[in-house]
Symmetry: C2
Subunit: 121 residues, 2 copies
DNA sequence: TGAACATATGAATAGCTGTTCATGTATAAG
DNA sequence: CTTATACATGAACAGCTATTCATATGTTCA
């Protein structure tokens, strides 16, 4: 069942550029893609996670190293590592009692680099 | 006053790689930079704002166009445009009763492109 | 000037998020 | 087997956020 024209262009006010809106609607990526993109950036949108990732640019680290580096509790770091792992941004490696985490994506640096360029303007 | 060695390496557990932690600490950007970076990504971390930005890749649009395109209220869009404006990601242009918004940053596309590459893996 | 339109904004609220605390699980060593 | 260590995890809670609702501001036109 197609939505009606009114459904697609509902707006409290009346000055809508119908053609532009229709064209843009058709060029937009699937709703799900845009949602996933927002979810990815949401993961980057926390300074603790940003710090963890930046630390891992340097080297893989165990949980306790990261906790000491950021002066935060082991539990807090572990929770955040789980978020990063679920987003497939870091991956764990067990060595005895320690879990070593490292970056699992080659795009992160490019994303951060562009972000830095923006905030430096 | 320098913090003590204990202050810098506090961790509930004991296996800390002191040298690595110290080296990494010195290579980390200033706390404020990392905070600002997180704030920037936080702006991208909402699907409504992602959709607005994506729409503006196509063309500048007035508030009502965007509201119609996303089938959301004018007020909701206006609030989000304010967030984007404060982050210096969009800029407004008045034409009569309408406010036209357009992108105000050339890094956004590169950031989104890398993000898309990650979620497509 | 007054009415209609387009947008902005403050208050309120429901839903989400990051940390802490307590506790569970996995590994190593004696 | 027991203990200690390193990490994970569930519950709880405080703080934040995105939307709605009501209303204000700014612009055009008659």
């Amino acid at each position: 069942m197609n939505p009606t024209f009114d459904d697609e262009l509902r707006c409290e006010v009346t000055t809508v550029h119908r053609e532009l809106v229709e064209q843009t609607r058709q060029k937009m990526p699937a709703e799900e893609k845009l949602y996933d993109l927002a979810e990815l950036f949401k993961v980057f949108g926390d300074s603790t996670r940003i710090k963890i990732i930046w630390a891992l640019f340097e080297s893989e680290m165990c949980v306790c190293d990261i906790a000491a580096l950021l002066n935060m509790s082991q539990s807090a770091i572990s929770h955040q590592l789980r978020v990063l792992k679920q987003a497939r941004l870091v991956k764990p490696r067990r060595d005895g009692k320690n879990m070593y985490y490292s970056l699992d994506d080659e795009h992160i640096e490019a994303i951060f680099y562009q972000g830095i360029k923006h905030i430096n303007e």
